[in-house]
């Protein structure tokens, strides 16, 4: 056991043994809290307590100011007192639990870990205090699920209003799948080794020594199918183990120091993927990603508050460390390669690609300093000023890895030997990442109340990111611009276009290489590149965001206010389709809490986002398209020069009209009954988007809540939520745009191309138009959608409508039978996702068989889940009770992503193989029962 963990365990154990101590509380302003709890104890401690029939000596059905019943408090615990003035009480709940059914189900176990059978310490808590005046010492502890993957423990001790130390340990499981059929051993490590299958697939040669691709692929597929058939389902999951300590010290009545350290270790594996070849892929397979992360978080805060002035100075350091820097996996598929070729007389044997290698998430460092100041000025219209400055830096300088681990002997790329030219970091333009993004936040807010009825506030917020990362995709050893793909099985390189007419006769394909990775020198050559779509350097995305707000509220009458707010949010982005977008917002709200029967809150918000001109391709300088002039030669396909359709709009940058409506009504139906109703409606309209996310995106939710608390014996609740959301998107399946080609458009939407100006006849359709693409017209002809656009032909448009419908229902309550206390909770959730598409089969060139299978949409994806929890506590004595637990869960799911995967994990017999090893989430039902002894002390 690692020393720090040992220390934590000792602390927790000691605390429990001494029957004293623990809770850990997240600060509400900084850092991620560690909620100590689990599924059986979501609030940290769930013990089915007895309620106090005497309530608080006041009205038993008091409410919050909004009107929610406060409910019946738990009966006060019996406390004991030691001779030296410590008062303590606590409880422990331990017994046997068992679970039957589909206990391996990933859905059932996603974030929890219930025992299949055995002894189970469900929870414990201890609280001890020395409360005599001048003392104030305390010690608290709680925990649950001890020894299981969702366990949690916390200890807290200190002196009230003086100092406090918190220690905690918390585990969170995350089960991704239990239906993964692994072909490898070493899952969870840095090296996955195939169990029996030949790395690189099965290579079968023809009589002349060349590779017989079809026979090789067929044999490889057969081997993989057999291997998959033979392996059992296994689980891919990880556990987050987090432990930490924090110290909180009041330096004086005004100054306070808080410091904390936490370490999270994540260990396990999750579904991942790998592809070989290039472009559209030359074979893909699901591999397990190994996870072994450590994250260290250090936080220090100095706070000052004198009632008028408040000041926070905070510094935060977060260090992420990946203990598996690279993941090497043996490859079972026979890859379909591209770009790379054999140097005669060698033969390219794809079985040399025996393995692939990932550079997993790199170690990274994050530093933040934040200063906040607030001043209250009650003498000046009750005003208050708040100012915040926050400066952060995230950086990583990981050692980069070579593009491939393979020597690539006897192979070449575009006529340049690849042998030992790509398997060292000498093949990189830089050896380390040197990536850094700085962020800066400046925020000033001011509020005032010039009259008793009127409140005004304003705020200016500026946030920016500054990306300093710079990487050029060029191999200094060869001078080749571009990237070797997927361990050498593919490539995406920029070299001069050798098609006659694009460049001067005699232009060598290696002309760029001679410039030694000097992009300016390459550009100075003025040679048309082979393709316009090869990445030649990274894109350092960055942006700034400015918000300016002005708002106010006016009290109409006692308990009634109206409010209004206007805001402008402006983005300035680098290297995006729009340099600038701005959204103007108006919000109006109404609050009435003066009704005897409840509280009403309603608001409406309107937003209108617009921006400067939309450039569909702002990335030219980062792609090979920037290396030379546009091509002019017949036969050149221009689709890599036209990166995006002019009318396509990315939804995060497009014009948008937004409407948000909120209504909450909290009704006091009876003195002991609450009824709550809420409705939310969100609408995003994309008025100028013909393609991409378009039309109206809507989400509507309506909820009903009932809470009836008639007595300490009985309490019932229920809720129901309905939600429906819709979204529409469109796109065009691109065709082609070849200089010198004729494109023929037919009345049924079909489009064809050829070199003959006379269109071939098409059965059942007439010719609508013919378009010739030339070096002079392709920008117009192919840049945007049109009925007669060779590239973006209107008839190849498809539109998709997506609709989600959800119902969530919960009912439950408590009843004290006298001899036993009963609590019951039941929840039911169901969701249906419908996905319909429309298209022109002729335009897309789909066969009737494909059209029949494609239909008009995907099968509905739907799921439902029932969770029933029943608890019965039988008091035996003042300090001992028996608790019986019954929990039933049932889930069923249909997700077309996984339809047929279990039976058909390698769907293709030959060609590019695709290997699917995760069969997806399965239906499940589980019953858990437990009999536990509750001991209170």
């Amino acid at each position: 056991m690692k020393p720090w963990r040992k220390t934590l365990v000792l602390c927790v154990t000691a605390a429990a043994a001494q029957m004293i101590a623990a809770q850990v509380r997240a600060d509400s302003a900084a850092g991620v809290g560690e909620n100590l709890g689990n599924a059986l104890n979501p609030g940290g401690l769930r013990t089915i307590p007895e309620r106090d029939p005497d309530s608080l000596d006041a009205w038993p059905d008091e409410r919050t100011p909004t009107g929610k019943l406060l409910g019946w408090p738990d009966k006060l615990p019996e406390t004991s007192r030691t001779q030296d003035g410590w008062e303590y009480h606590g409880q422990v709940e331990i017994g046997g639990m068992a679970t039957g059914g589909n206990t391996d189900s990933a859905w059932f176990r996603r974030y929890k870990d219930l025992p299949t059978s055995g002894l189970y310490l469900n929870n414990f808590s201890v609280q001890a205090e020395q409360l005599e005046k001048g003392k104030g010492y305390f010690l608290e502890a709680l925990g649950g699920g001890i020894g299981y993957r969702d366990q949690y423990e916390g200890v807290s001790f200190g002196r009230y209003n003086d100092w406090k130390v918190d220690l905690f340990y918390n585990e969170t499981p995350h089960v991704f799948t239990n239906r993964y059929r692994s072909l490898w051993s070493g899952v969870g490590s840095s090296h996955l080794r195939l169990n029996g299958l030949p790395p690189g697939g099965v290579g079968i040669r023809n009589a002349d020594g060349t590779m017989n691709a079809t026979a090789s692929q067929t044999a490889t597929v057969a081997g993989m199918r057999s291997a998959i058939e033979a392996v059992e389902d296994s689980e891919l999951s990880l556990v987050r183990e987090t432990g930490g300590v924090s110290i909180d010290k009041y330096l004086s009545s005004k100054w306070r120091l808080i410091a904390s350290y936490s370490r999270e270790h994540r260990d396990g594996s999750r579904p991942f993927g790998a592809v070989f070849g290039g472009g559209g892929g030359g074979g893909s397979l699901e591999i397990p990603e190994s996870i072994d992360y450590d994250t260290h978080d250090i936080l220090a805060m100095l706070r000052y508050d004198d009632g008028t002035n408040s000041f926070n100075l905070q510094t935060n350091v977060s260090l992420f460390r990946n203990n598996i820097d690279t993941l090497t996996f043996e490859n079972p598929i026979y890859a379909s390669t591209n770009t790379i070729s054999a140097t005669a007389p060698n033969v390219l044997d794809p079985t040399i690609f025996t393995s692939g290698r990932y550079d997993l998430y790199p170690d990274n460092d994050f530093y933040n300093v934040k200063a906040e100041y607030a001043r209250s000025m009650p003498e000046w219209y009750h005003s208050r000023l708040t100012a915040t400055v926050s400066l952060s830096r995230m950086k990583q300088n990981d050692d980069l890895i070579p593009p491939t681990a393979h020597a690539l002997s006897g192979l070449e790329i575009n006529g340049v030997s690849a042998e030992n030219n790509w398997n060292t970091t000498s093949a990189l333009s830089r050896r380390r990442a040197g990536a850094e993004i700085d962020t800066r936040l400046f925020d000033v807010a001011f509020s005032m109340r010039p009259t008793d009825k009127l409140g005004l506030d304003t705020k200016i917020r500026y946030y920016e990111t500054d990306n300093k990362t710079d990487y050029v995709a060029c191999n200094p050893l060869t001078g080749q611009l571009g990237r070797l793909l997927n361990d050498g099985s593919g490539g995406a390189f920029a070299f001069p276009n050798t098609a006659a007419g694009n460049n001067p006769a005699g232009t060598l394909g290696s002309a760029y290489d001679a410039m030694g990775c000097n992009l300016n020198a390459v550009r100075a050559l003025g040679l048309v590149p082979s393709s316009g779509a090869s990445n030649i350097r990274n894109v350092p995305y960055e942006y700034s965001k400015t918000n300016i707000e002005l708002g106010g509220e006016y009290r109409l009458a006692r308990g009634q206010t109206i409010s209004g707010r206007i805001e402008r949010e402006q983005y300035e982005r680098e290297h995006r389709e729009r340099d600038s977008t701005w959204e103007d917002m108006l919000r109006i709200g109404y609050l009435n809490r003066a009704y005897q029967w409840g509280t009403l809150r309603a608001s409406a918000e309107f937003g209108r986002r617009r921006g400067d001109s939309y450039n569909p391709d702002p990335y030219e300088s980062f792609y090979s398209v920037s290396l030379g002039p546009e091509p002019t030669a017949d036969g050149t396909n221009l689709f890599s020069w036209i990166h995006a359709m002019r009318s396509f709009r990315k939804f995060d940058l497009s014009d948008r009209d937004r409407l948000a409506l909120d209504l909450r009504l909290d009704l006091i139906a009876r003195h002991d009954l609450d009824i709550g109703f809420s409705g939310q409606y969100r609408q995003n309209r994309f008025p100028n988007s013909d393609f991409g996310r378009k039309d109206d995106q809507r989400v509507g939710t309506a909820s009903l809540d009932v809470n009836w608390q008639p007595s300490a014996k009985l309490g019932l609740y229920g809720y129901y939520s309905y939600q429906r959301s819709t979204m529409t998107q469109s796109s065009i399946q691109p065709n082609g745009c070849v200089i010198g080609n004729y494109y023929y458009f037919y009345s049924d939407g079909a489009v064809a191309s050829g070199s003959d100006p006379v269109a071939p006849a098409r059965s059942g359709a007439s010719l609508v138009d013919t378009v010739l693409v030339t070096s002079g017209n392709w920008h117009n002809q192919c840049g945007d959608h049109a009925q007669t656009s060779p590239l973006w032909t209107e008839s190849r448009k498809w539109t998709l409508d997506y609709e989600d419908t959800n119902h969530a229902l919960g009912i439950g309550g408590r009843y004290d039978l006298g001899f036993a206390r009963l609590e019951l909770d039941y929840s039911y959730v169901t969701g249906t996702s419908t996905l319909d598409y429309s298209y022109n089969a002729n335009g897309l060139g789909l066969s009737s068989a494909v059209t029949e299978l494609a239909g008009s949409g995907m099968p509905d994806s739907d799921y439902d889940q029932h969770i029933l929890s029943l608890d019965l506590v039988f008091p035996i004595s003042k300090s001992v009770a028996l608790r019986a637990i019954y929990r039933y869960e049932q889930g069923s799911i249909d997700d077309w992503h996984y339809a047929g995967v279990s039976d058909n994990p390698v769907p293709t017999d030959s060609g590019s193989q695709a290997v699917y090893l995760d069969s997806g989430t399965q239906d499940y039902h589980d019953n858990s029962v437990g009999l536990l002894v509750q001991v209170n002390f």
Binding site: V32, G43, N161, E286, Y293, F320, S390, T701
Partner: protein, 339 residues
Amino acid sequence: MSIYSLLVSARAGGRLAAASLLALLAVSCTPGHPGTVPDESTHAHGATEVDLMNQDSTYIGEQACAECHEHAREHASMGKHLKVFRSNPSTPAQTEMCEACHGPGSKHAEDSLNRSLIIGYTRDWGTPIAVQNAQCQTCHTGGGQMHWTSSAHDRAGVACSDCHNPMMKNSVNGALVRSSVSETCYTCHQQQRAEFHKRSHMPLPEGKMTCVDCHNPHGSTTRPLLKGDSVNDLCYDCHAEKRGPFIWEHAPVRENCSNCHLPHGSNNDKLLAAPRPWLCQQCHDASIGHPGQLFNNSQTAASALIGGTQSARIIGRSCQNCHTQVHGSNHPSGARFQR
């Protein structure tokens, strides 16, 4: 004698809800409706309008309060406030115990049914929210509460005591009105409760997170009360591996995680806003290759058994079968996130 028995007669009959939601809405649109707004001349709560700070009431001490509120004191004694005040007060006000929060009680002791004479934190008592909150802020200002003023909850007229109740120990931490942070938030945020029960969700129902892991309900510099300077800064707290930066970045990923993910819950895997591959196709429609293709039901593994042609863009992890490093890649070949 319980104070309840003194007061219960005044509340005989309780309150009945309006007949229907429509009626309620109609009434609510009429500010100042005489039948609904408390009549200060007749309503028992009206006199709370009196400025409590100008009273000449004096402190009477905990024991005097306990004369009527003994059982309440016992409950409150289980909470942090009275423990702190009792054992190690840090300000003169805290030494006043009950009156540290409720204000000086001498006038209240003389006229216990006059709601203007002491600060109450319940709806029935009727102390104005501004007065209640100001009283809490005499101690709870600065620190994590620095941005409360004009925050979303402040603007919505939320009272501290809508979420907190130091008089009862309902929760392990935070003196909440419900048993956990999440249950407390759900009292108003029912939509989020439904979303947290969807097929993919953050582990709130399983007790491994709460709303305050991401939000500071007491205010922050962001509109949705996020604890980070931006959405991404917040998400990186738990997903530090995705922080990078990477040599190959994905623009919408770097800018805002919520471009693709719904933070509370989704019908899609991985909290995605839409099913793959169409989520990716909402931005990707390149003229070359597959991004603009119509993917369809003929391409599932099941369809492949009956004559269809499988597509790795449809099955399983869809686009991420190949573009696995969609959050960013540090591999020299990773511009398309394939390594």
